[in-house]
């Protein structure tokens, strides 16, 4: 009986935090950072990089930073326990898997552009 009861004791007094879920988060600082990053990503969009891939990667990198700020601070992910991480990490990993899974499709179509818009008006009209 006694040994059974001790096994039920939590390692740490986690339960206490239920009553005081207030986390002091610098919301306005996060907001300012998000506004700044929005300005950055728009500014980058006007810059012509030698490869378009750089534009895409930079835009996505900024979006990931912004998304992380929202998730960790606005959504309080920073203060969550293992359970919440476990719940969202699974679809997140599957999402990454999904992106890798479509790489063959993207590569197959990339150089086989059926984009007629390019040749809309200046396609050779009369066969040589």
């Amino acid at each position: 009986m006694t040994s059974h009861d001790t096994s039920r004791m939590p390692d740490e007094p986690h339960g206490v935090s239920v009553l005081t879920p207030h986390h002091e988060v610098p919301y306005f600082v996060i907001f300012a950072a998000l506004v700044f990053l929005t300005a950055v990503t728009v500014a980058i969009a006007f810059v012509k990089f030698p490869s378009e891939l750089i534009n895409v990667m930079l835009a996505l990198a900024v979006a990931v930073v912004k998304g992380s700020l929202v998730a960790f601070f606005f959504m309080h992910l920073k203060f969550e326990g293992k359970l919440i991480y476990l719940i969202f990490i699974v679809p997140l990993l599957l999402s990454i898997l999904m992106i890798f899974a479509i790489i063959p499709d993207v590569l197959m179509t990339a150089h086989d552009s059926n984009s007629a818009s390019l040749h809309l008006f200046n396609a050779p009209a009369i066969p040589k």
């Binding site: 004791m9 969009a45 378009e52 835009a59 606005f74 719940i87 479509i102 179509t109």
Partner: protein
């Protein structure tokens, strides 16, 4: 059992954290539930985003051409509006948990107004602009091919039952080469103008397309499409992605409204506010990815 109560000072059966599940994880069931819902939402959005990536990779020039027509400033303003709403939502959750009724109501109201502003800009300005943007192929005796194409915005005030007036660009449909009403944009008409080919298939003349106010007799119209999902693959993706996101915003607005009414009636729902806040931040997070993917690249 009573012994253990005396020993440890709590009732093990009812209140002790369960040692089996994460050493008594204090996460409330409601929060687990909303995160599970958000997990399914992640899968949902990544599926349509993957579709977008594949379709875009198939027609990169087409997507680039029409994506560049979307207004970056309007998209950026909408992004800032959503970020602001996320801030006020976080503040509303904080105020609600601290039992501050007035602050909760004010912050929820600002969040709701931001959401409304987002939808007004999205539908009232952006979607309306696409709805009024037409590409029309019509019979034109001055064109060597017998047809001309005009691409521009419908002017309701100047149009009547017999004629349709557009502000945009016009050119004769070339007699050679391929032409597809779904692929042509205003930019093409302005830049390319009229192209005629000589016997070798090379361009000989290139006259600028006409830009300005163009009236077309309704009876002469052969084809008329506006910039809606049926325009081309880019607009199909654009409306699917932003439309589904917009529906999420509308759903969030309903929840925000209910929270606001309850708070006004003196009923603070800190837990519910937090869960709806989580959903709201997620909707903001989705837009943070949609904005660069649609407007900026």
């Amino acid at each position: 059992m009573s012994e253990s109560v005396l020993d440890h000072g709590y009732v093990p059966e009812e209140h002790a954290p369960d040692p089996v599940i994460g050493h008594g994880d204090p996460t409330p069931p409601g929060k687990v539930a909303i995160w599970m819902f958000l997990a399914s939402e992640i899968m949902f959005f990544i599926a349509i985003l993957a579709t977008y990536i594949i379709l875009r990779s198939g027609q990169p020039e087409l997507f680039k051409k029409f994506a560049s027509v979307l207004s970056k400033p309007i998209g950026a303003i909408n992004t800032l509006v959503l970020i602001l709403s996320s801030l006020t939502m976080a503040l509303a959750v904080d105020a609600s948990q601290k039992g501050k009724r007035n602050k909760t109501v004010v912050y929820l109201l600002i969040t709701f107004l931001c959401a409304s502003a987002f939808m007004v800009v999205k539908v009232g300005i952006e979607y309306a602009d696409k709805w009024n943007h037409h590409t029309i192929v019509y019979r034109d005796s001055s064109s060597t091919s017998g047809f001309s194409v005009v691409d521009g915005h419908f002017d309701a005030a100047k149009s009547d039952a017999a004629t349709i007036v557009l502000n945009g660009a016009k050119m004769a449909i070339p007699t050679h080469g391929q032409f597809d009403i779904h692929l042509v944009g205003e930019e093409d008409i302005v830049k390319k103008g009229i192209v005629t080919a000589n016997a070798n298939g090379n361009e000989t003349t290139r006259a600028e397309g006409f830009e300005g106010e163009i009236s077309v007799a309704r009876s002469a119209i052969a084809q008329d499409i506006n910039y809606m999902p049926w325009k081309n693959m880019f607009y199909a993706c654009y409306f699917t992605l932003t439309g589904i996101h917009g529906i999420h915003v509308l759903g969030g607005m309903v929840a925000l409204f209910i929270l606001m009414v309850q708070a006004l009636r003196g009923k603070l729902l800190p837990a519910h506010t937090e869960y709806i806040g989580l959903y709201w931040h997620f909707v903001d997070l989705v837009w943070i990815f949609l904005f660069p993917l649609l407007y900026l690249i």
